[in-house]
């Protein structure tokens, strides 16, 4: 690319172009495509399975929503599954946010031997696919007789390399070195500094990381379906057995899919802005 630097006397306002009607039309189309399957899930969940096998498929709501939701809740044990998933995702979120903040702080602001190599190792692990550890993890879980117990799903994802890296990138900028120096001058111990300086400075990023982690943990699929089964499932495990013919009723299956997504959609409506900015932040710096 040729760089053509020009003497700039004017303000560089060049890129704030207003969108025309064409832009809005195309965006509206893409928004429709991204929302339609979700809306249609709700429509299908409000019908009967007989109606769903007919052509043309329903495009508006029917009257069976609550009946189907109730069947999914009890027959497919989605109620228990949602409680389990809340416990799993909640624990993982707490672990990830806490340990990522502390480790991220060490990598961002403290000098210690091997910090560069350890950080590189941390980033490197993000490339390793989860398939590479499922066999030994399964042997382990079987050995400890943790099959079907929630800790089998919580512990392997309790910390996250992405989280450490995310917090490090944030704290590099958000936490002035002088603040730590000043606290040290006052004789504050490292724990006090974590509590009184690092946590307050990191709070916005901790919230964003927490949301992203919760979404990921809620949706985790491969390891839970290996470690758990229908007797004590997470939502994804329960949905998997719905899909493989546990209950062949299409409308109930859709009610299950709707239930499994609803909490996250709610989180999106409430915290959408933060989640969006979190993904964009992670992207620029990553």
């Amino acid at each position: 690319m040729k760089s053509k630097a020009r003497p700039l006397g004017r303000k560089a306002a060049g890129r704030t172009m207003h969108a025309g009607p064409f832009t809005y039309a195309v965006l509206a189309l893409f928004t429709a495509v991204s929302l339609a399957p979700l809306i249609w899930t709700a429509i299908a969940a409000s019908r009967t399975s007989g109606r769903l096998a007919q052509t043309p498929p329903p495009v508006w709501f029917g009257g069976n929503l609550f009946k189907n939701l109730e069947r999914a809740w009890t027959e497919a044990s989605l109620g228990d599954a949602m409680l389990n998933t809340t416990i799993v995702a909640g624990s993982i979120t707490i672990g990830t946010v806490l340990f990522s903040t502390v480790a991220g702080f060490a990598f961002a602001k403290l000098k210690f031997r091997f910090s560069g190599a350890l950080l590189l190792l941390t980033i490197g692990t993000m490339m390793v696919p989860p398939q590479l550890s499922v066999v030994p993890l399964y042997l382990w879980v079987a050995d400890l007789q943790w099959t079907n117990q929630l800790q089998a799903v919580i512990l392997p994802t309790f910390v996250s390399a992405f989280g450490v890296f995310f917090m490090r990138q944030y704290l590099l900028q958000a936490l002035p070195g002088e603040l730590i120096e000043a606290a040290r001058m006052d004789g504050a111990s490292s724990l006090r500094i974590i509590w009184h300086v690092v946590f307050p400075a990191a709070r916005p990023a901790m919230a964003v990381l927490g949301l992203l982690t919760f979404v990921m943990a809620w949706n985790d699929f491969l390891w839970p379906i290996i470690a758990l089964n229908q007797s004590n499932p997470t939502v994804q495990v329960a949905l998997n057995s719905l899909g493989t013919g546990y209950i062949p009723d299409r409308a109930v299956i859709m009610a299950g899919a709707l239930l499994g997504t609803l909490p996250l959609l709610l989180a999106f409506i409430l915290f959408g802005k933060q989640i969006v900015s979190g993904i964009m932040q992670g992207a620029v710096k990553g």
């Binding site: 020009r6 207003h18 043309p56 340990f99 910090s115 993890l137």
Partner: protein, 337 residues
Amino acid sequence: MTHVSETAEYAETASPGEGDAAPAATGSKASRTPSPWRSRLYRWDIKASPYVFVAPFFLFFGAFGLFPLLYTGWASLHRLELTNLDDSTWLGLDNYTNLLRSEYFWNALGNTFTIGVISTVPQLAIALGIAHLLNYKLRGSTLWRVAMLAPYATSVASASLVFTLLFAWDGGMVNWLIGSVGFDPVNWRESSWGSQFAVSSIVIWRWTGYNALIYLAAMQAVPHDLYESAALDGASRWQQFRHVTIPMLRPTILFTVVVSTIGATQLFGEPLLFGGTAGSKGGADHQFQTLGLYLYDQGWINGHLGRASAVAWLMLVILLLIAAVNMLIARRLRKDR
């Protein structure tokens, strides 16, 4: 908790041999504290706390990440059956040679590749276009972004169940739509290309908005004056997009290509649920069985955990190859500039 006991905790966890790692400045600062005993604790604290802070991550990572990774390598060299976990016999490379002789392994590898290409390429291209549109000054810009990201909040399982129904042979929305414009219905689950397309569409739907946001973030970091000078040179908007935006986004595009490739290599939940009862086989004829599914099928349906481990290590080799190719391309691109 008192200050002293906090520092004492650190002193206990400090590993010996890091003594000379203390920054030189510590000594002068510590000399300000009154008692020598306290100042020693303080120095220990400074030296040890970074390790204490990173320790939890590395403990968990070592136990649940690194150790299993190596153990998978060991297991791949053994006969290890789900029905008898305590018994393993040394096989050497037999698992690997058997895999390389198995047509289903190559079938899964091929499917992973084709599904990977037809899901990643359109996904990233559309994401780039959406990002470009989102980069205009928009009314309600946050609302657009959140709406585009909604599929990301949908789990693999939910999304796959919905798409399975949308692509159903009887009463499926997709067949009804193509029927209403005069085409014959497609058997999305049994036909080879149809099922691969359907599985890919789940991936595309879930991840396009996410990638669009990553591109948007990168676009917003492009200096304004580059566009200004391009505009002064008479470049149209399309030319600005091609000659300013795309080159400036090259590192980000490469990043998303790498991430999506890794994701495509691991594809598992979408084909599993799309296949219904024949899920782990990837359909009756294995027509959309991916490597991830093949691993699960070998390990937990057929019970050959040793063989599944070998699949896992072959996946790692494939990923490393892809990473190497990516790096070569990146270097080539940099030279071309």
